[in-house]
């Protein structure tokens, strides 16, 4: 995950066509829609 727009896993569905309301909060505190330590690590590393 090199940038916040990349999906952490298949469960992330944010896109320009189908935006997630929590996208901004998810970037810094994510993932918010599911629990996954690997995903959390990816976000933290990018942060």
């Amino acid at each position: 995950m090199k940038s916040f727009i990349e999906k952490c896993c298949d469960q992330c569905w944010h896109s320009v066509e189908k935006p997630c309301d929590h996208f901004v909060a998810c970037c810094t505190e994510g993932p918010l829609c599911h629990k996954d330590d690997k995903c959390k690590e990816k976000f933290q590393k990018n942060k």
């Binding site: 916040f4 997630c20 909060a25 810094t28 990018n46």
Partner: protein, 612 residues
Amino acid sequence: MKYASHDVPVIFIGMGTCGLASGAEKVKVAIEEELKKQNITAQIVPTGCVGYCAKEPIVDIKLPGKDRISYCEVVPKDIPDMVKTAIVDGGIYKKRFLGSYGKGTSEVPSINDVPFFKRQLKVVLENCGVINPNSIDEYIAAGGFKALDKALRIMTSAKVVQEVKEAGLRGRGGAGFPTGVKWEMAHKKTADHKYIICNADEGDPGAFMDRSVLESDPFRLIEGMIIGAYAIGASSGYIYCRAEYPLAIQRLLHAIEKCKEYGLLGSNILNSGFEFNLKIKKGAGAFVCGEETALIASIEGKRGMPKPRPPFPADAGLWGKPTIINNVETFANVASLINRGAHWFSSIGTKSSKGTKVFALSGKIANSGLVEIPMGITLREIVFDIGGGIPDQKKFKAVQIGGPSGGCLPDSVLDTEVDYESLKVVGAMMGSGGFVVMDEDTCMVDVAKFFLTFIKNESCGKCVPCREGTKRMLEIIERIPVRYTSSENKLDQLQRFKGIMHLQRLADVIRDTSLCGLGQSAPNPILSGLRYFKEEYEEHLYERKCSSKVCKPLLTYVIDTETCEGCGLCAKKCAAEAIVGDKKMPHYIVQEKCVKCGMCVETCRFGSILIN
């Protein structure tokens, strides 16, 4: 903060216009070569301007798990030692040390203890020089778009307007109109389309605040504009930026594309149903296009000329639709205001002027650059505590605030607080933030001439008082230092006195009858000059003298026969052939022929040319 968890050294290089002009590109190349030579893996991050332009190029180094350390005035030949000391050995490269972004110790002081930064309060500039302006991820990691998220998810558009109103944010472009009141007018209007425009047509001589924000933190402006658009119900926006700012435009274009890619511009932003699209309109550099009705005309493809108001743009602006125009700094305040709330914002500043103000320090000042101060601190604190005073042990003479429409303030009013009302009382204005410091070598008549020339050239010509009045005022000022020869008509000398007698009245007429702010404030440089530097005007008029030795017609060049060696170099260089004398004998200047070009002073190796 981004890079906190990185396991390789990160090197930040200030690459705003000031950094690039000081050689940041060469420093970057030198760093890249040295890293390659020493086989070091590190990340190089270009940043914008941290504000301390006088100390560019600025390079910060952050080692994994350690504080970010800032170095200033770095040159390519420093790099081998710097890389070894600060990266390989993990120490401090003391030769160029500026400060630490950490808490700071007696050995490694914090950057916030550097006098230039100590009195500053960074709200608008908090990311400038700190993050990569081309990285939306860095902006988000630094808390970016949280305010937009809050506005769209938690607040109604009316609540956003209310918050801005309660905060007391006033337009930072010059006039200081309450932003919330302006937004409320457009919010209440019913229309099929509304517009929001950012005025980035920064035209004041000596002003570079907006450029620096655009180059160093473009996402902050965009976030402020999206929130503003949501508040008033606009679905389209323009950033009107002068074409002379190519780097700013390049970074803005990149930022707009990134926002679209992340779903922060376009339709259904963050699934809120709100749509907003943003475009850049390049301005051709006309000063008058900073006036909002002229700016709108320019976007519409018409000649940039102001229109009488009402109707105000909030009622009928771009293409006849309700339009809000704010400048870069105003929009750049919005995200912090929404994030931290109206109460926090209004707790900074004075009773009538809330928040912070960014000033561009330039002229005869030790620490030139960009500063952000809480409203209410004094001009003296800016000049001497932050700006470091006047270089070369010269005396302070005046500070010009508010651009060409502002005023020149002397030492006697330097204890005035930075506040919209207080500055008006002393004959200046907040303006957009130009802060030009002048020392004892500056001639105030010459300064008035400079600003009047600027205003006359930039007058659009639509209204007679400004078009003709500024021209006549300039003629009067230009006549002051002219030295008439005895053969010329004495009437010219009479005209000089007559002009001065009429100057005040002419200034009043221009101020009261011009169509737009440019004309209405055009006489300010003259009025403040006559108010505070009357003796200097009188000296020019009656004694025919310019103590600052600036007004060339009033100067007399003579050769000191005691020290002149008769080398003849000055005579050779004198284009007017005004210098005569035999070889190895003292030379003389024929005053009737002398054109006061000053070439002889520059040429003489013995300091024998005296200026009286």
